[in-house]
Symmetry: D2
Subunit: 138 residues, 4 copies
């Protein structure tokens, strides 16, 4: 399994801050999703075409995040994303959010996803082609 780390950089939106003056914690989970999407796109994949159009879905079934330092409106943050683990019906993606300029670590975390049949909503084995891709060989 090759380790491919994809980076995505976005600017903090005013909408993402809260009354404490810094980014609201749940928005880091949305940034994880951005990282996940770009990890896909930058490898010439597309969640809608390659997963949803096949009658599959990769819902988040578990997640974890640790907050190390806050970020503020207008700052640029980089989300670093990689595949951390793969099983026959599930996989785990890991993330690090850093300040794009100083590279200070802001947040780390992971999300676990099951490969589910959209009709039955049950976990099913990953198609071989998608598994190869996830393993960094497709």
């Amino acid at each position: 399994m090759k380790q491919i780390i994809i980076e995505t950089t976005v600017r903090v939106r005013y909408a993402e801050t809260d009354a404490s003056g810094v980014v609201y914690h749940a928005n880091y989970l949305i940034w994880f999703e951005l990282g996940r999407g770009e990890w896909f796109w930058q490898q010439q994949r597309d969640y809608h075409r390659d997963v949803e159009m096949r009658g599959l879905g990769w819902p988040v079934t578990e997640l974890s995040a640790r907050y190390i330092a806050p970020s503020r409106y207008g700052e640029r943050v980089t989300i670093r994303t990689w595949l951390a683990e793969i099983q026959s019906r599930a996989f785990k993606i890991a993330y690090e959010v850093v300040n794009a300029e100083s590279r200070q670590l802001l947040c780390t975390g992971w999300t676990k996803h099951y490969n589910v049949d959209s009709q039955t909503n049950r976990a099913v084995p990953m198609p071989a082609e998608l598994r190869k891709f996830l393993e960094g060989e497709g």
Copy 2:
């Protein structure tokens, strides 16, 4: 056309505030949506069952809002919702957001909705039954 005003009260979430210390302006539009949903439910209607299941949709096609006073975390706000206008393929819902305790006016606005066929995404005449309901007679 009978004027039925529906009230919904919610508490301001921390997630809804921004770094200026008050509720982020776009979140009032989400409160309008809450008001719209309750306006429906409190009249024994359900958007999913009565509109979406019929192959229709009522997307927002235009909106307007004026902000009069800010609201803060933990305050309770009341959304007052009523039908402002009805045409054969479109209607307008109006809203007032007030502080639930002091009744101070915080925000006013309206949303315009077309009755669209979900397949074609085109505006079509409202089914008679729904129109009656919107006119306060169903």
Copy 3:
């Protein structure tokens, strides 16, 4: 330490759903925050008055969530909230989100919070009065 479980019920907003037709996973974290706020309020406490006004803050420093079943627009969900753990400078709040009607379990999780000085952004020991409250004795 008395175990006090506080329940809060809200209706799923259209804004909270995503293109997969169900509630977007990060929104459960916002529901945790609602639960946390109500856990406070229903015990005659107020985060702004009792924490922020004292120059303190309780930022989320770590969180975890497991997703068991999806929820949909218009459904009513109940967030059950309790104090799971307390240390001198930190504490953990636990949550369960269930369907308000069927009581089906949808999501479980916890958030860890440090008691920080808002000026220095450093963890400091909890004031005795707040600690008593957290322990269910104040």
Copy 4:
């Protein structure tokens, strides 16, 4: 007054879609905010430094939006932003959101902002330097 149009391009987040399969309408207002921020930054200005640090704020006091066509997860959208009107204590920013590839028009709108003193929350005349900037001469 020189007309300077600033363009910002972002990819649609899954979090921004709703159960109808397309972007939730209120998220266009957040995109307007992005456009407004970039309109500022790309002219070497910074809202926090140039407005908030001076004890001023530019809250949205009124807004309007028209929705022409939907956008979907993963699409890239471009927000075009310009100053539409300026008065002594207020100004209006206008926006167009287009599909970044096809340039199809998705949404148009404007936001009105008052120049307020953060302490008193009252509208005050714009500092000459900021006014010059807004007029495209600073």
